[in-house]
């Protein structure tokens, strides 16, 4: 009996020792491997964004691995599905950090989900680069280990409205937004410009998330006589709105935001979707940079995943690239502390698909340069506007 106890306590002590030894190095890193974790909606309608983002991460990781990995270590990508349910995002992050022992994180799901996991990430201290849903809350106040690549919805809409206001002086304006945090930030940005430029807003709608029929909303827009219209829907909503406008026989100047700027939308809008303005911080796929990106992806991705690519793949790719290059700069023995320090030193990292990315001391937001694009029905693509 005593013998057993002795063995047991020895085993226990051994287990303790080995865990404490493991603690000396940061989790997620062995001599041959580095684990990068991610949680995205991979099922249900939001999979459109989650799958695309994860594909972007995969491209950057495959690219790094093809070049021999990070200083000889191959990157292992661990991806969890949250189905766009916040509670599952929290669990996904816990799984990735505790069970899979990720070294760093990319992602993470939608804006509400990112906000909800923020305390968790902060407590864990794991280096994280967020790319999917850049909202101010994620970098204000700056958190030591959380970096955000992208541009805020507010700035995006401010840029777009300023552009449209200059092009269409003295016109009447209409706006419709979704009744969630995304919609609120869009509205905030819009209001800023409205105040500054004293725009004449004649219609302001607020639709319920999941609404599919926009006939009454667009009819109100028509009645109001709006000449410039900001469609704050995401994908299906914007399509439905454009079709309604076509039916009502009006053609205001239309602006949309990047969450809805995916090419298949143009095909569905039909001729009604010709000439709509969009704002984004990644290059359009129709341009040289976009084509080069697709070409690169073709060599690194299985054929079946190619059709999942959209603008979120670009933002995902850029974020992964920034993270990988920071880990790389840490040399032979990367640690969390070093990775965070190097992320902070990120200066003009080129990704080829958006303006060079930089962070700095106390700056956790890359503040990407925005550009305006216009859709073209004949080629089903977005072209930059100068």
């Amino acid at each position: 009996m005593i013998k057993y106890l002795a063995t047991a306590s020895l085993l226990l002590a051994g287990a303790f020792l080995s865990t404490s030894l493991a603690l000396a190095a940061d989790p997620g890193i062995t001599d041959t491997e580095i684990v990068i974790g991610d949680v995205e909606p991979l099922t249900g309608p939001p999979a459109l964004l989650g799958v695309a983002a994860s594909i972007g991460h995969k491209i950057a990781i495959a690219e790094a691995n093809a070049a021999g990995g990070i200083n000889g270590r191959k990157i292992k990508y661990v991806l969890e599905d949250d189905g766009y349910v916040t509670a599952r995002t929290i669990q996904g992050v816990k799984k990735v950090t505790d069970v899979d022992k990720a070294f760093a994180m990319l992602g993470i799901s939608g804006s509400g989900q990112s906000i909800a996991v923020m305390p968790l990430l902060e407590k864990a201290g794991i280096p994280t680069v967020i790319d999917v849903a850049p909202v101010k809350f994620l970098w204000e106040p700056p958190r030591k280990n959380v970096f955000v690549v992208g541009q805020s919805y507010e700035e995006g809409i401010i840029h777009l409205v300023n552009f449209l206001a200059e092009k269409n002086p003295g016109k009447k304006w209409g706006l419709i937004t979704q009744d969630d945090d995304y919609g609120v930030t869009v509205r905030d940005g819009f209001d800023t410009v409205v105040k500054a430029r004293k725009l004449n807003v004649v219609y302001s709608g607020n639709y319920k998330k999941g609404q599919q029929d926009f006939s009454s909303d667009m009819l109100q827009l028509k009645e109001s006589g709006a000449e410039v219209f900001l469609a704050g829907g995401i994908i299906g909503e914007n399509i439905a709105m454009m079709k309604e406008l076509e039916k009502l026989n009006i053609k205001p100047v239309v602006g949309i935001f990047w969450p809805g700027r995916v090419e298949p939308v143009l095909k569905l809008m039909g001729p009604a979707g010709d000439g709509i303005y969009a704002v984004d911080y990644v290059e359009p796929f129709a341009g040289a940079a976009g084509k080069a990106f697709l070409e690169k992806a073709k060599g690194l991705l299985p054929e079946a995943e190619m059709k999942g690519i959209n603008r979120y793949s670009m933002t995902g790719y850029a974020a992964a690239k920034v993270l990988i290059s920071a880990i790389e700069r840490c040399g032979k023995q990367p640690t969390w502390a070093c990775t965070i320090a190097e992320l902070e030193k990120t200066k003009n990292v080129e990704t080829g698909i958006m303006a060079p990315i930089s962070f700095g001391p106390g700056v956790r937001f890359s503040n990407q340069k925005l550009q305006i694009m216009q859709s073209e029905f004949s080629t089903l693509s977005f072209k930059p506007v100068n």
């Binding site: 639709y207 009454s216 076509e246």
Partner: protein, 290 residues
């Protein structure tokens, strides 16, 4: 007036789609006593199959329509045979729960078989716009209203005059007695599932025609279920009318009170109506004996 008319017509068009799916709910409830929580998902699958036919086989309206109906029948029969029939005689709650499990499977199968991108159903019909004065309507919207009205008449005649229709009413009224009279309950159930799948599927295809296909389409079921309740769960025709009422109410509320009120208005009307008629507008009062 013109504003009102435009709202009314759009309301009728979307209401007709709700109505068709609501009839799908009612057909199953009337003949099996179950609420099919997978109705919206079945509708979505039929629409996606119609889209696949249009892109792979032929974009001809007739081919797509017949193909979609056939697919809906097969879908309904398979579900009845494989999933629902084994549950015959089990507690109602467990059986309804099975439809919830089924809904999960069907919903996931969209991204599994197809993808999460929106798609447009193009059959060379339904997208052109007819203008009567200042009011614009798509031909597909007119077609769905007409289809609903025709179906309402046909179903009324079916339940009133055909032998099977009478049998279905008998099973609904008292399945044990119906069995004694030599009516096969399983056959009636199979027929109900197939019919429900087709009627709702037609609604789904029309939706895809006027709007677009997306994996979020199953939410139509959530809009149509209240319509069924409004019309009366056991009233097939009433459910169709219930759909129209909800569509109109939503659009009028959206047009006159603002977009935020759209969703709420439909529900508010249901609560008010149920306070006055607790079994729906056309539903039959349950007579209880102790």
């Amino acid at each position: 007036m013109q504003y009102f008319m435009q709202l009314l017509i759009s309301g009728l068009a979307i209401g007709a789609i709700y109505g068709l799916i609501a009839m799908g709910f009612a057909v199953i409830y009337k003949s099996t006593g179950l609420v099919n929580f997978a109705q919206g998902e079945m509708t979505m699958i039929t629409a996606y199959i119609a889209w696949t036919i249009s892109t792979t086989v032929s974009g001809n309206v007739v081919v797509v329509a017949l193909g979609a109906i056939l697919a809906a029948v097969v879908l309904g029969l398979i579900i009845e045979r494989v999933v629902m029939r084994p549950m015959l005689g089990e507690p109602v709650f467990a059986t309804v729960m099975v439809t919830i499990g089924l809904a999960v499977i069907l919903r996931s199968s969209i991204n599994f078989i197809w993808d999460a991108y929106p798609h447009g159903l193009d059959v060379g019909f339904g997208r052109s716009i007819v203008r009567v004065g200042p009011i614009g309507v798509r031909t597909g919207q007119i077609a769905v209203i007409v289809t609903l009205l025709v179906l309402l008449a046909a179903i009324w005649a079916f339940f009133r005059y055909s032998k099977i229709g009478v049998a279905m009413r008998a099973v609904a009224a008292d399945d044990r007695t119906a069995l004694l009279m030599g009516i096969s309950a399983t056959r009636v159930h199979a027929l109900a599932w197939a019919a429900s799948s087709v009627i709702a599927g037609i609604g789904g295809v029309f939706f895809a025609l006027s709007y677009d296909l997306s994996p979020a389409m199953f939410q139509l079921g959530l809009k149509a279920f209240p319509a069924t309740i409004l019309g009366g769960l056991d009233a097939v025709l009433g459910s169709g009318v219930g759909g129209l009422l909800i569509g109109i109410t939503e659009n009028l509320a959206g047009g006159y009170l603002g977009s935020g009120m759209k969703e709420v208005a439909g529900f508010a009307m249901i609560i008010v109506v149920l306070m006055i008629r607790p079994f729906g507008i056309f539903g039959e009062r349950d007579i209880e004996r102790v």
